[in-house]
């Protein structure tokens, strides 16, 4: 199914959304800070991915992709992967902080 990869990423966002709602992680509420944290990482890992695709380290099965291909033969889903997974990581760290406020993270 061509939506498969996209649905996996959607599942990650839906699965972590309760952290923002119920634990008040305020990650999406601080969108500029979130973007500033994840965009540079997405660019670096996206470039890594483009290099790996060019070198035939791995390839993606088009049967599971919506079919939008970005420059460097990068499937749209891969770029989204590099935005979604880091966002989930930030949500998780903030959820840990919400439950364990005495564990310092370094930005207090």
């Amino acid at each position: 199914m061509r939506l498969t990869y996209l649905l996996i990423l959607g599942g990650c966002l839906i699965g972590t959304a309760p952290l923002e709602i119920f634990l008040h992680t305020r990650v999406y509420a601080r969108l500029p800070r979130l973007a500033a944290a994840i965009v540079p990482v997405a660019l670096v890992f996206g470039a890594w991915d483009i290099g790996a695709i060019a070198a035939d380290w791995w390839h993606y099965d088009p049967r599971y992709l919506v079919g939008v291909t970005l420059p460097g033969k990068l499937p749209l889903e891969e770029l989204l992967f590099f935005l979604v997974i880091p966002t989930c990581a930030v949500l998780t760290l903030e959820a840990v902080r919400a439950r364990k406020p005495h564990w310092l993270i370094g930005d207090e």
């Binding site: 996996i8 800070r33 380290w57 840990v96 364990k100 564990w103 993270i105 370094g106 930005d107």
Partner: protein
């Protein structure tokens, strides 16, 4: 083993970013390792789906060949580097904002 080597380099680079460049020192914090343990669990599921369903296929010459839940072990290093780099930047941005303003909203 080119993916193997580059994934290890990615881990080292993320560690240097955290410990030396941004000095967020998340690698020494319980909160980071607790969050990473949770992230790892879900990364194993996502990586397992991506490789188990064969959405992505690896050239066997680029990986060492050890697999966990279908996914090459290199994916764990790749995912660790991505999580650490992101969280280090996130904390650094928050620390910078906290030091430049007394305003609570950061």
């Amino acid at each position: 083993m080119t993916y193997t080597l580059s994934a290890l380099l990615g881990v080292v680079a993320a560690g240097v970013l955290d410990l030396i460049v941004l000095q967020t020192r998340l690698l020494r914090r319980k909160a980071f390792w607790t969050a990473y343990a949770i992230v790892l669990f879900f990364q194993l599921i996502v990586n397992g789906l991506l490789t188990g369903l064969k959405i992505v296929r690896y050239d066997s010459s680029t990986i060492i060949g050890w697999r966990i839940a279908h996914a090459p072990v290199e994916d764990i290093a790749f995912g660790f580097a991505m999580a650490l780099a992101t969280l280090s930047l996130w904390v650094w941005l928050g620390r910078r904002a906290a030091r430049s303003t007394t305003h609570a909203d950061r």
